[in-house]
């Protein structure tokens, strides 16, 4: 609880970038929380039509992958600290492993495929969790700049941003699951049996109606998988930022305690429940999709 309140207190760090987001544009005071979701372009890299520039989302993804690796190594491998600490960390790591094994992999994947696909779904779960959780810690990785008083040094302000609140990121993750699903389905069943397994047992007369729907359904999985994560993170951040932004919209400092209180409540809800649930759900659904492609009759 102490750590949680410390985390909530860091919300205050996000205030300056929100104050900057409400700058006057075109003579009219306007507040745009969506300003915080622009990714900008830090290091432009262009390969023909491909835009591989390093931007805010890419920076967050790099940080997220490094932290994911670091988390695994810290929990399971490193033997520093006092006598009991490595054991305690290992217990936490094994708890995470057990959730990934029993709740995610064994629920969706058939027994023969667990060895091959457990690493993938467990990585998905951990990676999405880490990317989600760092999005709720104000980090000095924003497009807004401020100058240190008395000097010429320009520093980025602290801001909340989730790489997963960009549809490209979640769509890329969902595409991986999509490709693996059909690859495994084709590999284990062969094309004829696999595509036949899409179509449920219905009278032949229904086929013109059912077949297009089922094919569409396969692609809707892609949409639902990516949009669920994307919209959850976007809406959560938008809600928190809008609540804090009310101070600047109304231009009234006295309402600060109320709106910060409300924002903190949403913040705790997001950090405690939504972050973990979304990571879990993405991994679990990936496992279910891959598993049902490998053994369609179940």
């Amino acid at each position: 609880m102490k750590r949680l309140s410390a985390l909530a207190l860091t919300l205050w760090l996000a205030l300056p970038s929100l104050a900057l987001a409400s700058t006057t544009e075109g003579g009219e005071e306007e507040f745009n929380p969506e300003h915080d979701f622009e990714i900008g372009e830090w290091v432009p890299i262009k390969l023909g039509p491909l835009d591989l520039s390093i931007n805010k989302a890419v920076a967050y993804l790099i940080l997220g992958s490094l932290l994911t690796m670091g988390l695994g190594i810290l929990l399971m491998r490193v033997k520093v600290g006092s006598k009991n600490e490595p054991a305690r960390r290992q217990a936490v790591g094994e708890m995470v492993y057990e959730v990934a094994q029993t709740q995610v992999a064994e629920q969706g994947l058939p027994h023969k495929a667990i060895g091959r696909w457990f690493p993938y779904v467990a990585t998905l779960m951990l990676f999405i969790w880490v990317v989600n959780i760092i999005s709720f810690i104000p980090l000095p990785l924003s497009n807004e700049k401020f100058t240190l008083p008395g000097t010429e040094v320009e520093l980025p302000t602290f801001a909340l941003y989730a790489a997963t609140s960009s549809i490209s990121v979640t769509l890329a993750l969902a595409l991986m699951t999509f490709v693996f699903t059909h690859f495994e389905g084709l590999r284990h069943n062969g094309p004829v049996k696999y595509f036949k397994s899409w179509i449920p047992d219905v009278p032949k007369a229904m086929y013109p109606l059912i077949v297009p729907l089922e094919i569409l359904g396969q692609f809707m999985r892609l949409v639902s998988l990516s949009v669920r994560l994307y919209a959850n993170m976007l809406a959560g951040h938008m809600l928190i930022l809008t609540f804090i932004g009310l101070i600047f919209v109304l231009g009234n400092l006295y309402i600060a305690p109320f709106v910060i209180g409300a924002a903190t409540l949403f913040y705790l809800f997001e950090v405690v429940i939504v972050v973990s649930i979304q990571a879990f759900i993405f991994a679990a659904l990936s496992a279910i999709y891959i598993g049902s492609a490998i053994e369609p009759e179940h």
Partner: protein
């Protein structure tokens, strides 16, 4: 005069869009609220009947919760898309 009328029409369209977005999200969350209530209610009943199944049921419960909750956000994204594009 004409200019003023055009301005008023534009602001009416904006107001209409805002109302539509709010209505859409509100109705979406109504449905999701009912669904989530159902899921947790059933979970309570199930655990009350067979407490030893709690661990197994919890995974299914959260899966159902997330699947239901996402419905609001499909509405939100659809509404935002319409808001931005129209």
């Amino acid at each position: 005069m004409f200019n003023l009328l055009a301005q008023e029409a534009a602001s009416n369209v904006d107001a209409g869009k805002a109302i539509a977005l709010a209505l859409g999200i509100g109705l979406g969350s109504l449905g999701a609220g009912i669904g989530i209530g159902n899921i947790f209610g059933s979970m309570i009943q199930a655990v009350a009947r067979q407490p030893e199944l709690r661990g197994e049921l919890q995974g299914i419960q959260w899966l159902g919760f997330a699947l239901t909750e996402a419905v609001v956000f499909y509405g939100l994204i659809g509404g935002l898309l319409a808001f931005v594009l129209v």
